[in-house]
């Protein structure tokens, strides 16, 4: 088939359960594969990794002329990206708060146990709705300082924002973009309001830390606070749901690997890295060159939308031996599952901890379990790819 339609075919909902043959076609079609819409796809590991580190590549949609308000730091370039990310990192990780993620270990354990408690052998559960979604949502709510019971409220906003960020080459995206912008404004207002309630009354969470920063040079403006809080709340749960669900799905499909992990639970951290390679939660990222660049002899003009297909890079046989095999004992797992370069996943340590805890606690109960539906129904989104439901008979 014509390689010009690859993005359309990848985005097609029918491809969601297994996009990997299309990714192989993409890698075969060349290092840079032009699409009918004028954008291009890149699916080779080494080219993706190089472009993620290339300071000429912009993450900002305004670089290709999109008229939009200033995005959160995920889609900003340095030095502004660096300033905002560093400020957001101060209450979350090293060097200023090195113990934050580790201190959440006990709580994540407890939430996991509580969620697993009602599961009965022989019963049917939905891994997504009953486990993989509530866990990270509860954790991110605690971390940020958002009331858990407001979940129905922010879930709607989150859905609209994630839909707006997806790549849909065939459809007119004006309406979803508008809905996304509206959701962003409402969700930002909601979170800033929560933060304001903590001004002068520190409560130990991130919203409180961000609003109570004593040094004026290190404070976020109201708009920056809104953007950052929205980003953290969404990124903090949308992706981890996929990671945990993909993990359960992969293990149920491969009972021998499941047995191995039950016998040798110390392999679990390595298995999570392999999972991030084999079934990453984020499959594509867009970058736009600030100036004309050259990739393996192909000129890509400034302003072009360049889609880096992380999911294809992770299965590149030029980088990984036997790439289509899920192997929890694999030691060479330098995957693109968290991206790379300056935008490397901010929440990676938390995501890893949640995934170890969730899969570790679930493993003993999966021995007799089976998939009710394979493949399971997937979410619409091609970029943040994962099952919408994962019914399992315990």
């Amino acid at each position: 088939m014509d390689s010009e339609t690859l993005l359309a075919r990848i985005s097609d909902y029918a491809s969601r359960p297994n996009p990997y043959p299309l990714y192989a076609e993409l890698r075969e079609a060349g290092p840079v594969v032009w699409q009918a819409g004028g954008n291009c796809l890149i699916g080779g590991y080494h080219h993706i990794a190089a472009l993620l580190h290339d300071p000429r590549m912009s993450a900002d949609p305004r670089t290709r002329g999109e008229e939009t308000q200033k995005p959160p730091f995920l889609r900003l370039d340095d030095p502004e990206h660096h300033r905002l990310r560093t400020l957001a990192m101060r209450p979350f990780g090293p060097p200023h708060t090195p113990g934050r993620v580790d201190s959440m270990r006990g709580e994540i354990d407890r939430i996991t146990k509580e969620l697993l408690e009602p599961f009965e052998t022989g019963g049917q559960i939905d891994i997504v709705d009953d486990f993989a979604y509530p866990l990270p949502v509860t954790v991110i709510c605690r971390l940020l300082g958002v009331p858990r019971e407001d979940e129905p409220l922010f879930r709607g906003w989150s859905d609209a924002l994630v839909a707006a960020a997806d790549l849909k080459p065939d459809q007119d995206s004006t309406d979803t973009r508008k809905a996304g912008d509206q959701a962003r404004i409402e969700m930002g207002g909601y979170l800033v309001n929560l933060a304001e309630q903590r001004r002068g009354q520190p409560s130990g969470d991130l919203l409180s830390a961000l609003v109570n920063e004593p040094d004026p040079a290190l404070r976020l403006t109201r708009e920056e606070l809104a953007e950052t809080a929205v980003l953290l709340l969404i990124a903090g749960h949308e992706t981890t749901v996929n990671l945990i669900t993909n993990g359960v799905l992969t293990l149920l499909r491969q009972p021998e690997q499941q047995d191995l992990l039950r016998r040798e639970p110390e392999l679990l951290p390595r298995a999570v890295e392999e999972l991030l390679r084999y079934e990453p939660p984020v499959h594509m990222r867009e970058r736009i060159p600030h100036s004309d660049i050259d990739v393996a002899g192909t000129r890509i003009p400034a302003g072009t939308s360049v889609i880096l297909v992380l999911g294809a890079g992770n299965r590149d046989p030029r980088r990984f031996q036997d790439p289509d095999r899920f192997d929890p004992t694999r030691t060479d797992t330098q995957h693109l599952g968290f991206g790379s370069g300056i935008h490397f996943c901010y929440g990676a340590p938390l995501a890893r901890l949640e995934a170890y805890t969730a899969l570790g606690a679930l493993l003993p109960r999966l021995a007799e379990a089976r998939l009710v539906q394979d493949p399971p129904p997937y979410r619409q989104n091609a970029m943040l790819r994962g099952p919408r439901h994962l019914p399992v008979q315990l």
């Binding site: 580190h53 000429r56 900002d60 030095p79 600030h290 660049i293």
Partner: protein, 451 residues
């Protein structure tokens, strides 16, 4: 040599980072023969970078930096015993206790030691330290924790600068004396050395450049130093950070190509003998080696880099158990890092192999930048300050011999990104401390002397 390269007797002299990683790799590659590691320190292999950072700050103790083992190398460990020579005809390593170890293949990874203060009597005074070993780190950490009035650091290379940084972080008064014009100038050139000087002074270091220490004074215990400008620095602790000396004396009669910059070897880590003939049973890895690098004009590089020790050890071990056609060259692009005065400095390539530089991203004012070094119109090195995630991009430019200055387009491109300035790397003999990267072949810049 037995026909089967996976069998036989291998001796590794040097039980630090390179020795350990080589031993692990040998087993990883399926070597089933006997393996002996000889080390003159009485400890299992340990990590040295924390000794000038976390250990001095009291965040870790010197006895906790043991290197994690990737796998059990199933080796016989001869620790606390010095090797005194090699009999290449008999194929034996001679030990100081009179014993000798037969080998089929030998790996030399004896590394470096701290260059001692020139006057042994002054060096022996209480309060005078060098920093290389675990004992050095423990002793200096204890002395700093006791809260001395002032610390004198002689030499503003990476080690000296990191020690000064740790002292200031602990609130101690510190004077740094450097014979060159600024800290780190030998490794990074004039522009970044000016930033390093500003950082030191902003952090309260009493930085004296263009001076030498002419005498350490004290009556049994160190009380101060005389400088060449006639001034005197009263201090109760002195750290001599004058660079490193390669541990090659034990090979003086071996007939190998041994000199002050190390043991010369080929791209496959095989040692040369003194006639320039390559051996096939003696390999070299880590700080003690000098090896040719195609990216830097095939000059012989001597590196004191953690990453090089690991990578070269892996290549050497692979080649020791592989037939000729399957051997690999050691082509890794040199990299190193340093943390000091709140800055994270990382380097890729060989900054001293340069004639011009540009600031490609960020700025000196922001204390966050990427500086690119070029030689005769191609990129040869880059140094980032608090911008390490850009490093891989520049590494790729070095590996592909990309034109210098690098192409424009970075979002945080410096205003002057296309204005090249001379790199101004001084003659290493000007510095108090030795170079951490030495180019020892034909040198590109007349300001450098052939050594």
């Amino acid at each position: 040599m037995p026909d089967d390269l996976k069998d036989g007797r291998i001796v590794i002299v040097g039980a630090s980072l390179a020795g350990l990683r080589a031993a692990e790799t040998l087993r990883e590659e399926g070597f089933t023969g006997s393996l002996t590691l000889v080390g003159d320190e009485p400890h299992a292999p340990y990590d040295r970078p924390p000794l000038s950072k976390q250990v001095l700050l009291g965040q870790a103790t010197a006895d906790t930096t043991e290197l994690p083992m990737r796998r059990d190398p199933e080796a016989e460990w001869r620790l606390g015993v010095r090797a005194t020579g090699v009999d290449r005809l008999a194929k034996r390593v001679l030990l100081e206790d009179g014993e000798s170890l037969p080998y089929d293949r030998l790996l030399i990874a004896t590394g470096t030691r701290a260059r001692p203060w020139g006057n042994p009597d002054e060096a022996a005074m209480d309060g005078v330290f060098t920093l290389r070993t675990r004992e050095d780190g423990a002793g200096l950490a204890e002395r700093l924790a006791a809260g001395p009035e002032r610390v004198l650091v002689i030499g503003a290379g990476f080690t000296g600068s990191e020690i000064a940084s740790a002292c200031r972080e602990m609130g101690l008064q510190v004077t740094v004396a450097e014979r060159g014009p600024a800290p780190l100038v030998g490794a990074l050139g004039a522009t970044l050395s000016k930033l390093a000087a500003v950082m030191q002074r902003n952090h309260g270091v009493d930085l004296r450049t263009g001076v030498t220490v002419t005498a350490l004074t004290g009556n049994g215990a160190f009380t101060g130093a005389q400088l060449s400008d006639g001034s005197r620095v009263p201090a109760d602790v002195c750290v001599v950070a004058l660079g490193a000396v390669r541990n090659v004396e034990w090979l003086a009669d071996s007939g190998l190509a041994v000199g002050p910059r190390g043991i010369a070897c080929d791209a496959g880590c095989r040692a040369f003998d003194m006639y320039g003939i390559v051996t096939d049973d003696i390999y070299v890895a880590g700080d003690v080696s000098r090896f040719p690098h195609p990216l830097f004009g095939y000059q012989m590089l001597s590196l004191e880099h953690w990453g090089n020790a690991v990578e070269q050890a892996e290549v050497a071990a692979h080649n020791m158990v592989s037939p000729g056609a399957l051997r690999r060259p050691h082509l890794a692009v040199p990299t190193f890092w340093s943390t000091q005065f709140g800055l994270n400095i990382k380097s890729v390539g060989v900054p001293t192999y340069s004639d011009y530089i540009v600031i490609a991203q960020g700025s000196l004012e922001a204390r966050r930048l990427a500086m690119v070094y070029g030689y005769k119109g191609r990129v040869t090195a880059a140094v980032t300050v608090d911008m390490s995630r850009s490093l891989d991009y520049y590494k790729h430019l070095i590996e592909t011999a990309a034109p210098f200055p690098p192409p424009p387009g970075a979002a945080d491109r410096a205003i002057a990104a296309d204005i090249t300035i001379p790199s101004a790397v001084p003659d290493p003999s000007v510095l108090s401390h030795g170079p951490t990267v030495a180019l020892t072949g034909h040198l590109p810049d007349r300001r450098l002397t052939v050594v």
